[in-house]
Symmetry: C2
Subunit: 369 residues, 2 copies
């Protein structure tokens, strides 16, 4: 692993620590690369904005050709609609209480709004809001979603409730799960195949029920490059704008493609082979990394491991023979899962060519409802 100079320089430019720094050139390159992949592959891009929660980044994605945004909650949709986005897919099986029915109707009055659905019960409460729906398919992640062959019956029922069914979608989240006797590449490839097969079967199920799916939508950053030649015509990757330690471990990017990291300061050196940084779970999130032990990646110290994570401490264990940094040194730590790290920050420190040029508020931070 090389020590990525771009992110080290970005960390040095942060006014204080802990802070989440973004190297703007790497961000721009990541956005351009995924947009080019969409054009080359003939699929529409609807990036998941839960990763960045930032209207400034949404604007870059839309300018690069994204057809709209994906979000996870009505609150996120409201934040981006307030930022001028007019095409939003809430990729979540919302159950609408009365307040959420009103909020969704208000959103749908000012933008094109699609909502995920995996039950008649939830569909019943979406009917009449003005939102259209996509049937959620379980392609192997076993979280939410119906089996592919059940898609047509649910689409039919939703249609009978007066809802417009735009198509089908899935999230192949099992493409990041650890599996014994398999490489990350195997796991990603299998998830991509599962997604393709499930969506193809689900689309056929809709047609059998007399509904033509205009949208056949898949995830995700780890599987985006592995799309087959099936019927998927839209992808919803999120993490690719920043990348993270999980994506590095999965092989879906290199450390050079990591655009966001925590700038941290060495606050304690309790032993010759151990040091402590001021970025803990309240900065990085507490997500484990399925493919690599430790609570984050410290690229300046190859072979090091974040062995302990408290709310405000990351304890870094060094391999033999490596000299620890000194008190006050600034050290970069790459979060395991960038989406949860960003959601913890009030703002992102934007750095271009090693200079702090702007700070962007995380506008949809904590918009969980």
């Amino acid at each position: 692993m090389t020590v990525p100079s771009h992110i080290t320089a970005a960390a040095q430019a942060a006014p204080s620590t802990p802070a989440l720094v973004v190297d703007a050139d790497t961000l721009d390159r990541n956005i351009a690369r995924m947009a080019a992949a969409g054009r080359a592959g003939g699929f529409a891009l609807r990036p998941h904005a839960k990763t960045h929660k930032c209207p400034q980044i949404a604007e870059k994605q839309l300018a690069a050709g994204a057809v709209g945004l994906t979000v996870a909650t009505i609150g996120e949709a409201e934040a981006f609609a307030a930022g001028g986005v007019t095409d939003l897919f809430i990729a979540y099986p919302l159950w609408l209480d009365d307040g959420k029915q009103r909020r969704l109707a208000k959103l749908a009055a000012g933008a094109r709004v699609q909502v995920g659905v995996d039950s008649v019960e939830n569909a019943r409460r979406i009917a009449g809001t003005g939102a259209s729906v996509l049937i959620e398919i379980d392609s192997g992640h076993h979280r939410t979603g119906v089996r592919p062959g059940e898609a047509g019956a649910l689409a039919r029922a939703a249609s009978e409730l007066g809802l417009t069914v735009d198509g089908v979608f899935t999230f192949p989240g099992h493409g990041t799960a650890h599996a014994a006797n398999a490489t990350p590449t195997d796991v990603r490839a299998q998830a991509a195949r599962d997604q393709e097969a499930a969506l193809t079967e689900a689309a056929a199920s809709l047609r059998d029920a007399g509904i033509e799916p205009t949208v056949v939508s898949g995830g995700s950053t780890p599987t985006a490059a592995l799309r087959g030649d099936g019927q998927i015509n839209e992808l919803r990757p999120g993490v690719y704008v920043f990348n993270d330690a999980m994506q590095v471990a999965l092989g879906s990017c290199t450390v050079e493609d990591v655009a966001l990291a925590a700038a941290a300061t060495v606050v304690s050196v309790p032993a010759a082979d151990r040091f402590v940084l001021d970025a803990g779970s309240k900065v990085l999130g507490a997500d484990p990394n399925a493919w690599s032990p430790g609570y984050g990646l410290v690229p300046a110290y190859p072979g090091s491991k974040v062995v302990q994570l408290s709310e405000h401490h990351a304890v870094v264990q060094l391999p033999p023979g490596v000299t620890a940094p000194r008190h006050g040194d600034r050290v970069v730590i790459i979060p395991n899962h960038v989406c949860n790290a960003v959601n913890l920050a009030a703002e992102l420190v934007i750095v271009r060519e090693g200079r702090h040029v702007e700070s962007w508020p995380v506008a949809a931070r904590g918009a969980n409802s």
Copy 2:
């Protein structure tokens, strides 16, 4: 495990979900009980406010007799100072950059401020700010802190830098760690003994160096009830105001003592023995529970397990023979680690006798720097 009716009623009172609800009567009782333990045990109480980040709760703690607050960052100290708190201990080995030196000096001009220190390097930058220091001791958690016998030398050096050394402190964080062949009670008791022994030795080390420790300060919620008859004269528990699934598993409280929980809605029932709630890692935090598998506790379904946690989904697996709730049902989930859950919320929904009476902003949310 009984189904705690107070927290179920609180969850029903939340205007929407996901939301963090607080049963005010349970909160008041938890605060009163720890205050009574302090009076009975003859120790000062300086509760850690990182748990609640809420001036309203700090006020209750101080009214019940707390001598001041503990916080983890300058930002948290600033938030509570703005709320009128005049005695603050930043229990963290701060390394002060120039900006933080100015902020600390400003704080110390308006309040009594103590700071943790475990190195001469960090002490050097605290000198001149007006803050006094406590020497941090490693009592077995192996995070930060010096060995007990080294406390005197560091205190001497700090004193020679012009700093007032008020005493010694430790955090016995190993009192929550899982250990094979030991019960939670064993582990908590061992951590309490380690803390007592380490602080006693450290206090002696200060005296040998000619410095009388006026403060001998220990943690924590799991060890608070296990304090021995040694020299500890101050405790800094934090979690006890709310409690959480970790404390229930540790046996430091029962489910009846849990004052805060996430109110969640069933959004999907993908199988007869599985349902999905709208509270994920962006509501609960992603902390594991060292003593119990799963990402939170669902007390209404004994034997259930949160087997999968995404940003906006908690997948709950039911034991055989239990009927799943229906779409739209409201279900309580108790976070594993309440400190990280609170830090994710903009506000807490305060419920008294089943009625939503107030909402309190999490004023120091994200104050990591």
